[in-house]
Symmetry: C2
Subunit: 1001 residues, 2 copies
Amino acid sequence: MPSDFEDRVRKTGLRLYDIAEKSKPSLFRKDYWTGKVMDVSMKNDAFKQEMFRFVDVFPYLTTPESVARHIQEYFCRPDQHFPKAMQWGLSHVTPDSMTARMAAKSISKNITTMGKQFITGATIDEAAEVLKKARDAEGVAWTVKILKEAVTSTQEEEEFLDGQINLIERYSEIVTNWPALGTGEIGGLDWGFTPQVNISLMASCLYSQYLTKSCAMDYAIDRAKERLRPIYRKAQQLGAYVMMDMEHLPARRFTLELFKGINDESEFRDWPHNGIAYQAYMKDAEPLLADLVKWAKTGGHDFGMRLIKGAFWDEEMVLANLYNYPVPVFTNKHETDASFERCAHTVLKSHRHMQLKCGSHNIRSVAYVIETARKLGVPEDRLEFQMLHGMAENLRNAWTKHDLRLRLYAPVGEIVPGMAYLVRRLLENTSSESFLRQSFVDGAAREAMLRDPASLAKDSPQTESGTPADSEYGETGPFSNEPPIEWDVATHAAFAAALENTKSSFPRHVRPVVNGVPTEGGKTLMSTDPNMPERVVAEVACADAETVEFAVAAANTAFTEWAVTPAEKRAAYLFKAAGRVRAKRHDLAALLVYEGGKNWTEAQADLNETVDFLEFYGREMIRLDKPRTASERPGESSRLGYLPRGVGGVIAPWNFALPISVGMASAAIVTGNTVVYKPASQTPAIGQAVHDIFSSVYLPNGVFNFVPGPGEEIGNALVTHKDVAFTVFTGSRQVGLGIIEKSGPTPEDAQQVKHVIAEMGGKNAIIIDSDADIDAAVGPIIQSVFGYMGQKCSAASRLIVLAENHDKFVSRFKHAVETLVFGPAEDSRSDLGAVIDAEAKAKIETYVDIGNTDGQLLTRGANAEGPGHFVRPAVFTDISPDSRLAQEEIFGPVVCIIKVDDFEEALQVANGTPYALTGGVFSRSPANIERACREFLVGSLYINRGTTGAMMKRHPFGGFKMSGVGSKAMGQYYLPQFMFTRTIVENTFRSGFAPMEAATD
Amino acid sequence: MPSDFEDRVRKTGLRLYDIAEKSKPSLFRKDYWTGKVMDVSMKNDAFKQEMFRFVDVFPYLTTPESVARHIQEYFCRPDQHFPKAMQWGLSHVTPDSMTARMAAKSISKNITTMGKQFITGATIDEAAEVLKKARDAEGVAWTVKILKEAVTSTQEEEEFLDGQINLIERYSEIVTNWPALGTGEIGGLDWGFTPQVNISLMASCLYSQYLTKSCAMDYAIDRAKERLRPIYRKAQQLGAYVMMDMEHLPARRFTLELFKGINDESEFRDWPHNGIAYQAYMKDAEPLLADLVKWAKTGGHDFGMRLIKGAFWDEEMVLANLYNYPVPVFTNKHETDASFERCAHTVLKSHRHMQLKCGSHNIRSVAYVIETARKLGVPEDRLEFQMLHGMAENLRNAWTKHDLRLRLYAPVGEIVPGMAYLVRRLLENTSSESFLRQSFVDGAAREAMLRDPASLAKDSPQTESGTPADSEYGETGPFSNEPPIEWDVATHAAFAAALENTKSSFPRHVRPVVNGVPTEGGKTLMSTDPNMPERVVAEVACADAETVEFAVAAANTAFTEWAVTPAEKRAAYLFKAAGRVRAKRHDLAALLVYEGGKNWTEAQADLNETVDFLEFYGREMIRLDKPRTASERPGESSRLGYLPRGVGGVIAPWNFALPISVGMASAAIVTGNTVVYKPASQTPAIGQAVHDIFSSVYLPNGVFNFVPGPGEEIGNALVTHKDVAFTVFTGSRQVGLGIIEKSGPTPEDAQQVKHVIAEMGGKNAIIIDSDADIDAAVGPIIQSVFGYMGQKCSAASRLIVLAENHDKFVSRFKHAVETLVFGPAEDSRSDLGAVIDAEAKAKIETYVDIGNTDGQLLTRGANAEGPGHFVRPAVFTDISPDSRLAQEEIFGPVVCIIKVDDFEEALQVANGTPYALTGGVFSRSPANIERACREFLVGSLYINRGTTGAMMKRHPFGGFKMSGVGSKAMGQYYLPQFMFTRTIVENTFRSGFAPMEAATD
């Protein structure tokens, strides 16, 4: 850009500043309650966090007592030292005291006022007054957005659709007599080119399952289009404008494809009154915009683009960090601003096809757009400015005084769905990088704020924070979880091809491999596709007791050398195996689909977990191999080291046949033990794949031996063998307890006492507190209960709901269950499918019968027709905690809902089974969360998230009571149990000499 | 001191410097091999350490190949980067190559030369030449000291005695025709007042057991006097002078009392020609000297005092640090110098009774003594100066030129016993605080070196390093081991009284205590004193299965509250209990003597361990209670916490009835479990004492329940009870395996799978390498084998000796065993006594029979007569590793010696039993030590020290194979096994808000 352009931008900016600086945004005025709160929040991060969390839960609090109690929990804890004024006199009273209730009422009022700052009204009619007033007084237009709780079911999609249709209809009625802006014509187009009625909506409300259907994108878009068409038609019919909001990254592709798809439909192709929001803070904002421009030009489209910087920065950072993909947003504010300008330039240049809706509160950005539009000669009707209601009255004034066409974003709705919106706005305003805060609170110099962000970005370039280097693993580098598969056109096609390919390899021939040599098997066993039992996946020539004898002998022989192979070298085999798994991920995942009955998502997730096990345990062994010092003093060194146990029997389950097999075996191997591995009878082909992984990296013969076959015979021979030092098992309680019992006696001539590591069952509960955020709870709970048809030991099978939230939760949950799609696992659309075999199906149906006797059937969800071992999901209410349904592990898509009066009872019920594996709590009460952390007796407690899908290293996994024995898998205490420890105490003092200085003559 | 005195000291010092500075001590002359080595040592601490260690082992190396191999192991390791010249071309050759052997020979020659620097000759006749030459040329006198390996047996005491007598006789013959110094009179007194024949000796050589007899000091001194009298008589008879050296602190009281005692005997009372060395670096040097002066004046004694600064500084620091008592020496060099001057002043003032032998190489110290003597008018015959041969020829010159009466210390002996002496001298000279090094190598300014040390000390006061604060335990403060009891007159009397007192409490009445209430017992059981079986220690009203039922119920009820009692509060009970144990230590130790048959030393050591368990586990729980973070990221917090298991059965052994009971029970309790405790049948009164300790600190009722009685009935009921979550056991393999087997089945209705922590037996071996320092090995091995009659699971019962060292070791070991004192435990003199009961005795004698059949009896040690269950120690040689004697745990004073050809075979034999508990290696080969660290399969490997007496925190203890299951006691991984872990994963992301800064507008 030439510098005279920069100068014009600067001058325009200064003019805008001149007007704006005459007043301060009301949000920051400390004579108001909101202003005070904002003030403290900006100064005190801890307070800000508690405040915004309190605001988040506030709408759920139905009584003054409950409000008072939450205030105490958020602001009056002994570990906090907040300003007295911000404890509202509640630190030393009981929540039901008169004082407390009075304070609660007053605070409630203030928060409601705070809400009104941003939310124009509970209904369009209520909002209309605000809209009209501002139109008349300031000449601003509006876009109306209905605030909505998360849409979690087909029923809620329908409600949403109805709401949008109603909005367009009612809003159109309201504006009938309003003069158009610019022209004054009654009922005419504002400024002569754009409808008075303008609504904004979120694509995610159109199809509740868009997120879990990322592997079936076409299907998801089709579903969404079905909802969107009526809205577009209504808008066309009544002359309204529809703007699609942009959400977080996981929704972006869905939203963009949906937008393009519907605009490609002939009935909407020529309709200019629709648009889409676009976020400039994405690192790929520019290339993606280029594609969009190309599409628009090629198709001859005309649509609006609301260019914004983006409001999900926190969330993008969090998600990228948690799931370990590159941070998708600029982390340097100047980069974001520069990207905004570049995108604006592109859109303005493409003004024949795109109307720019400039959505920024940043004077520099706006000045840039004004001057660029002028330079490029953009016609008036191709550019408007947008701003959020309640954000910056002084800028609004500056924009309109400057004759910019300004549209305000008007959220309409109740406070409950509005709170998430409110919190986002508060966050934006209090961020230290906020233009408003910097300019009008912190008093930054205008000139500095008006500088070209591109040059500023050059001065302070983007830095990638990324994962901090874990020094614990030394040169091997930090551990990071494998990033989840990104379902785009290419990966979708690759996996579809792998499914085809894999199918053609059936039936596979599986037989034992001992000491690297395939051996003759005995009887034959078949494995079949649970979703299509006629499909034989594998024919197994089974191992028998004699094979086990050979295998143990081979493992015992191999142990001698393997035990003293350096840890780094052993770990290197695991890292190589990880690479192998990555390279073959689609083929392996396809096998999981056919033999395990996993759907696309679950199958791919298993692959990630498999890689993670190998990468993590390899690193852990390297860490553990460094001897730890117990004490180091002059004259004595004392350290602890590890040594392997011997031959281990690895007995694997069918439900996570690949990752758990690899996890258990690799842990045993990397710690220097040798292994005899028996896969589950249901999944021998996957077992063979496990063997192939290890043999493909040339693990020395005898270190890993493969003995497929029936559990009773092989398992027994293995567990009780005198030379088997330990058994590591994952499976049912019954089999697990049997192994433990059989491992009790020490055989004559055994070299050691047998050791057992066993992961067994669970009867996992999730507590839904009275203040739980149901929006945030339904999705994760559905996943926890019905993921892989509930065939996970971590699956939730009891939902304990506080009475206050019960009916609301039950209703939303029911509809969500009914929204799930039933079908064979190989169909990318399927949420639910077959259970593992006919026996499992029969057992599950028995429990459904019990449920029908002991309680009320709420729903059995979708219909399920087909040849597979299909079981329809079943949800029961009115179940007593003592019912077999609430006590026994079902291992299927059956869940009971138990209503309780208070949190105490919830914990009692939760703890009242023989199991202690996983547990969940959805709550926004700090006190209840803390109590659950103390009293909820489970191996893994999950707070405000689902109870399945534990991630390596971050979520060490394992239970107690009847759920298992041993240290948690996936964590840093897992490997040590595969080893003995040795203390080495060395007297380093010799002949009067220790490594220290003497003090004699 | 007036400053004109200081000025005179300064001037005298400068005069001495003038003479001294004309040459450099030969030790530091880099044109010699020794000088080069000293030079590199002073610059490179790592090299110095390896060099001195190599010098230490060198005399044991009998072949050039072995020398070459050791040089490679010490100087050519890949982790070292020593100067090429200091690798002597050995880094890339095999030790048996011609090059290597040539280099080895050359180095051997150089080291021998280095030895000759300090050692005047191998015999007195060889030394006489050196002595005579210096007398004639320089006018210096000599004191001759026979270098001796450590004296480890009566036989060696006798050899030592003979050696001293011979020395005096032969030395006297040699000097017959020597002219006396000063007078020139043939055979006359040197300088007219002191014998020409002057010897120095160490008190520790007079009685080999002085160290282990610190609780029987009178006895030890009597034994030493029996050896000393003939020496004194011979000296009187032949007109010689006898000086007693001073050793490390543990020998000081013995040496001083011996010296005073013999001087109080009428035949020596008036004999002035004996003296004692006195160390000024001890913090209590002054008060103790005052006592000595008082004694001398009162008794009218006349004796010499060789005042030195002290040569055991390293060792004193190490010992104080390892056993956790205050550092006894000054750690600031100036303080030591100042203390020397004050002591010298005192001795000079007392010159009527004490002749000062000023033993310093420090010019300032000597100048101070010269001027003080002058000032106090000390007669010539009351002052002489002493110096070490080989240390500082230039000072020697200065002293004599200054007309000081100088005596040189002349070590005489072979290189093997001389190496420890040599290393001490090398250390002194290379110390950065050495006067010689500072003055003649580092070139310190004379004036600075001559300043008054008292004023210098004031400028840089003494700092106590002490144990660094362990932040791991936060406010509770660091853990430190209880310091061992110091046996002085007061503690001896106190314990003797406690023994009397305790005896009078017998028979004690023991009965079960459940839920804080003593209950009716069933059948009666007696415990008796193993050393006097007629003495009934306790009458027990035994618990039965019904009592167990009550006790488990009480513990189960108490668990609910105890489990949620804060960890710090639980730990506080342990700390209180520790205080209680400290307060009652003598009474408790007395009970161990009578019921457990422990001797004084072992009984008191048990008390220390008891206190340590309480203090350490209390702190450990506080440490573990802080939740550990598995990961903390924006949006997610993941942490691990602990929770207790439930009711634990604690089944205790009789051998460490107090500490192990307290250790197991306190671990279970502090982790939040409740306990039913069954003591061993042999030690119910000690069990009751354990109960009393916990009840005296008001542990809530039901947390600790006491059920004394027979193992079969009670143990069984306890282990298999459905409400007993875990058993923690220490005892025999047979019982332990039984408990593990019985804990296998999970009872109907049990809340969890049973967990067992079991410490069982051992068949522990010590390897004595071909280069092992036998001097340093015999004592610790005797203690490891015969401590508490071998009734420790850690006791060594196999000695695997490399052929090269076999005969020498066997001979010294035999004599050492025969020196041990047999007698009842209550007699402070007893090393050995009864085994626990008649059954044990019978079993041990069976193994003696096996030994007689399978091998050669080496010795059965001392005689053992009396009513106790006495078993004489038994040592067998020529035992095959497969013999039952070498395979089965005997748990008594029986040991077999197995001869092996090489280290590989040694390890094979060591690993060739079903046990893996403790093991030891005595070796000075870095490569063999490293190999043992990798390949010796034991829970606790001890290098160059005994295998028993593990210390809390520093020596985590526990074995594998048939030696036990579970994590090591005394270490940081012990408590976690008493608990389950809980992962708590919290989604901290709410409504777009995570605790981080946003980057939007």
